[in-house]
């Protein structure tokens, strides 16, 4: 089955060999290994990617479902200057410990800041509720997203 979609800004045409999950397509065949698989059941959010700008779990999507849509992975977010503040803020605040949840956290944070430039702590918590972190206790992650939002706002002044 042939599918055409946009991946990190470029159009891609692919032949799917059969039933394949989006995360397997990304990691195993396209070498986009920044996206992590934690639980494989949509509980942890480590596999979060953007589908037409909205965060989704790539472990709960079939590759055939992305036909005609746009996917952005953590690689796409990292290469996009608009999101540089998020990556920097995660580094500075110590929001990254083992790092396994970070790609998903950053993708979710990117989706939040794209639609809400001044999120409250509660809005940040709600946006990240689908992303589990077992190291940080979340406070540094929330601080990082908050700091990134402030910097984006300052730049726009």
């Amino acid at each position: 089955m042939k599918v055409r979609f946009k991946l990190n800004g470029k159009f891609v045409m692919l032949d799917l060999p059969g039933v394949e999950r989006l995360i397997d397509l990304l990691r195993e065949r396209l070498d986009l290994v920044g996206t992590k698989e934690g639980c494989g059941k949509g509980e942890c959010g480590a596999c979060t990617v953007l589908l037409d700008g909205k965060p989704v779990c790539s472990c709960l999507m079939l590759a055939s479902q992305i036909a005609g849509h746009e996917i952005v992975t953590i690689e796409g977010v990292a290469a996009d200057n608009r999101y540089a503040h998020i990556l920097n803020a995660f580094e500075e605040t110590g929001a990254v410990q083992c790092g396994y949840c970070s790609p998903g956290m950053i993708v979710s944070a990117a989706a939040l800041l794209a639609r809400n430039r001044h999120p409250s702590d509660n809005e940040i918590k709600r946006a990240l509720a689908g992303n589990l972190c077992r190291c940080t206790g979340y406070s540094k992650i929330i601080e990082a997203v908050s700091r990134a939002a402030e910097r984006v706002a300052q730049e726009r002044k």
Partner: protein
């Protein structure tokens, strides 16, 4: 292992033609079915019929007397739809607290209904809104009240060649609520949930529907509590009576998520919480 292609129709006609084949598993958003398939990596996956490419099934449409919600409409779309917010606030509330952002962006109302979990969060609101389901096959078309659709956990009257093609709710304006309890706010399946829809005029409850989730093999109505409330003035004492009655009507079980006694008690607490808030806002 996963050798077969999925079937991805782009029109309802193609989907119904495909559904005439036996042994198909239907995928809408995939947030339930991919979890179920996740644990069977060594066995071949069943043939999958993927519906989310059918754009005509993904719309919320306003008619003269009713609102049609397409089965492919996602929880996120329900949560943010002004039409749903106006005519079905319970449904919007339920859609906004289920799962996580990632799940809500993919999970569909049709999937939540078809999956037939007694804990499915959109089902109690649909009960109290008096929703009607439209079921189509290649040759037949029927509609039924949602309460007639469920037989037991995961079991419905949907025939193997049928698809849910529309969910309809009337445009009668009612106030109401959806409240639930889970282990945590995000991503927890409901231990117990309560939805209600009321018509109140000059303090008197003209009509009321109450539905209870996760406390019986299917979502159920709390008929005794409704009867106590109907025709009477909403006050604290009446709320206590109704809460006690609803608690008795629940017939929950002990399972991995909670225990029967807790669920039973919480049915009353949630109903009281919801009705009290309405009373305070009057």
């Amino acid at each position: 292992m996963k050798e077969q292609d999925t079937i991805n129709p782009s029109s309802l006609r193609q989907a119904l033609a495909a559904k005439a084949r036996p042994n198909l598993v239907v995928v809408a958003g995939g947030t339930d079915i991919l979890v179920q398939l996740h644990d069977r990596v060594d066995r071949p996956w069943p043939k999958l019929l993927v519906l989310d490419g059918i754009k005509a099934l993904g719309k919320i449409t306003l008619h003269d007397d009713f609102v049609t919600i397409g089965p492919n409409v996602t929880f996120s779309e329900i949560e943010s739809s002004p039409i749903i917010g106006k005519y079905a606030p319970q449904l919007a509330q339920a859609a906004s607290v289920a799962g996580s952002v990632q799940i809500r962006n993919r999970a569909t109302i049709g999937g939540n209904v078809a999956n037939a979990s007694p804990a499915g969060d959109l089902i109690p609101p649909l009960y109290v809104l008096g929703a009607t389901l439209e079921l189509l096959s290649v040759r037949t078309k029927r509609s039924m009240p949602i309460e007639k659709f469920f037989v037991g956990p995961g079991k419905t009257v949907l025939k193997s060649n049928e698809l849910i093609t529309a969910i309809r709710i009337s445009k009668v304006k009612r106030i109401g609520f959806f409240l639930r309890l889970g282990t945590r706010q995000a991503l927890a399946i409901s231990k117990v949930s309560v939805a209600a829809a009321l018509m109140i005029k000059s303090g008197i409850i003209l009509d009321v529907k109450i539905a209870l989730g996760a406390v019986a093999p299917t979502v159920i109505r709390a008929g005794v509590a409704e009867e106590l409330l109907r025709g009477n003035r909403l006050d604290a004492k009446l709320i206590d009576h109704a809460a006690e009655a609803a608690s008795k009507e629940a017939r929950p079980i002990d399972d991995i998520r909670s225990v029967a006694a807790y669920r039973k008690e919480m049915v009353g607490i949630l109903l009281k919480r919801g009705l009290t808030k309405i009373l305070e806002s009057m």
